[in-house]
Symmetry: C3
Subunit: 276 residues, 3 copies
Amino acid sequence: MKVFADILDTVRRCGPVVHCITNYVTVNDCANIILAAGGSPIMADDVAEVEDIVALSQALVINIGTLNSRTVEAMLAAGRRANSLGRPVVLDPVGAGASALRNDTLQRLLQEVRFTAIKGNISEIGFLTGEDAKARGVDAEGASLVTEGNLKEAASMARRLSESTGAVVVVSGAIDIVAHADGVWTVRNGHPLMARITGSGCMSAAIIGCCLGVLPAEAPQACLCAVSSMGVAGEIAAENMANAGGGTGSFRALLLDAMSMLDGPFLTCRADVKYM
Amino acid sequence: MKVFADILDTVRRCGPVVHCITNYVTVNDCANIILAAGGSPIMADDVAEVEDIVALSQALVINIGTLNSRTVEAMLAAGRRANSLGRPVVLDPVGAGASALRNDTLQRLLQEVRFTAIKGNISEIGFLTGEDAKARGVDAEGASLVTEGNLKEAASMARRLSESTGAVVVVSGAIDIVAHADGVWTVRNGHPLMARITGSGCMSAAIIGCCLGVLPAEAPQACLCAVSSMGVAGEIAAENMANAGGGTGSFRALLLDAMSMLDGPFLTCRADVKYM
Amino acid sequence: MKVFADILDTVRRCGPVVHCITNYVTVNDCANIILAAGGSPIMADDVAEVEDIVALSQALVINIGTLNSRTVEAMLAAGRRANSLGRPVVLDPVGAGASALRNDTLQRLLQEVRFTAIKGNISEIGFLTGEDAKARGVDAEGASLVTEGNLKEAASMARRLSESTGAVVVVSGAIDIVAHADGVWTVRNGHPLMARITGSGCMSAAIIGCCLGVLPAEAPQACLCAVSSMGVAGEIAAENMANAGGGTGSFRALLLDAMSMLDGPFLTCRADVKYM
């Protein structure tokens, strides 16, 4: 099992190309965080080209944040192609439960594509397991967060979704959960300010793509590294912001700064990962 | 009539979900400014889901900045649904007058949707009242600004549009105008640097959505609070930038910073609102 | 032949409207860099309106970064209209060679539209000349960069493309090349950090649009000014970042800062342009 410093180092040396079919709200943040981590982003969402683009890439990230009838077909085609090429595929089910279109699309995606990792907040993951969860704004806090109070329930929900899909399931929140047949881990990194900017979750999925791109055979470890990296970068950003006295606009830039300068051994030390 | 500090506080406590059908140029800025103000953004523009999304939201913002045949239908469906649910709807007629597509779309929107607020620069508002105004780049300065020189003319134009549509009409510029059957107000807040970044106007409309989301029954007051908030945030950002010696890239981050840390009582004091 | 300070000054005085049909990844960066340079951006990509928008603009920039079947038609219509109006047109062939859709689109664009300038990295330009180049992620470094080692080869490739298209050809890299029937120049400005954020190349094309918008009759000089401006802004940003100790998030803001405050005479002095 590789330590996180080694995974991060491999991302930087290999520069995995990560194909994102993602929403237009945070697409720039996703591209910049992939570059900051050492990967190489490529965004393409037309059904006429996604199969070509997947073939050039080491990982595919599908984010349904601003899906439409045109891009849904591209997601399906890209996902199937990635499966046939053996490339890892990440699903970020943004706003699952918020509309029939999103729900139907998720059903089709889960039927037609084998995902390596699925990352969502507790309400999104809850929806995918068939549990009744209320969707709010996609950046919603509060009811959508994993905390010490609902940790066990969230963990077993994540494990069920992992068992039914075969994917590593990542539940993001104040505490992050990474669940797999091999076990369930918690990651206690990150900072509340991450929920006050748009894109933290989308960027996390993009970094999962980066790590899976260089470590496809060890998906749980790759997800743990990605989630910890984002969390530790958030902590560093918050610490640097405390010095600067800034708000959310500064935090956003400092988060990219922190990822772009993240020290491998520091990440290994600071990552707070526990087997449940 | 609520003071601005109370409205801002309500936004922060209630976290209104604001559904934006907006352009892909400044959509990230809109999401971040809504979060900075305390709201919860959700972006969705497919006709197959906008009615579901509107039903989850406290306000709808329609911005025609990069409209296309697909999203126009979504705007109409979302607007009608918001009307039937009694949710406030904001129109940002970006680039009104610049193309037949924009003009025809605006005509359809105004015929089929009842807007709670319409916000544009003087050339956009002029176009909606049927006056001949030349459209330039959507971030154009100069002829598109309200100044002391054309203030009266702009105010009466805004009032006419308010009378014909029933909406509160906000004309943005060096001086902002908020017009309604109840009266016309000026807001003398803001900073010239706001016109040197893209998205100031779009963010202003997004914040109008936030304030209307918590104060739908007092639309003029909600609009005044939103416009003042953006203006005061711009002033704070410019002051902080003067210390840092920055340019427009820094200003953009500092504007989000200022909104995310805006103090309610400070806003109440600093807002320069006058009844005309 | 105008010096760069004069061109920059003209951009600031005239505020050319630059119509961009561009990708949704970096569109906000393009709008902000155009504003920072003194231009006025307008983004519009629906075939029903691009001809109207081109008619309001001083230059058109076509970037195929996230093309789709809908926007390809808009690119063609806008390009033909710009040609018929005598407006300069810039092509940024992002990801040329990465998919059949991109390659077919580029072929159609080059057949149906006369470009004033074409800007790409060496692999993109190589593809357009029919040479076999491997496409990677669109922000890929390494093999896609012009260096002292492949400078001559890149210059003659650029010249061939210029001869076959009539366009000024700009090859971006550690060294930039500007090639035309009149000659070939190198521009040795810029900083490696520019390759670590998304959008540097797209912004460069946007600035070429600004400069061509005020100097359409002297296209090589306009391109040299644009490329030098971006490079010098990158150098200033890197210098200011060294003081601040930042990463890529800060660099991105500092790059916009530098362009927005770029001093004309400083640009003239610092621009490192050589005739080959």
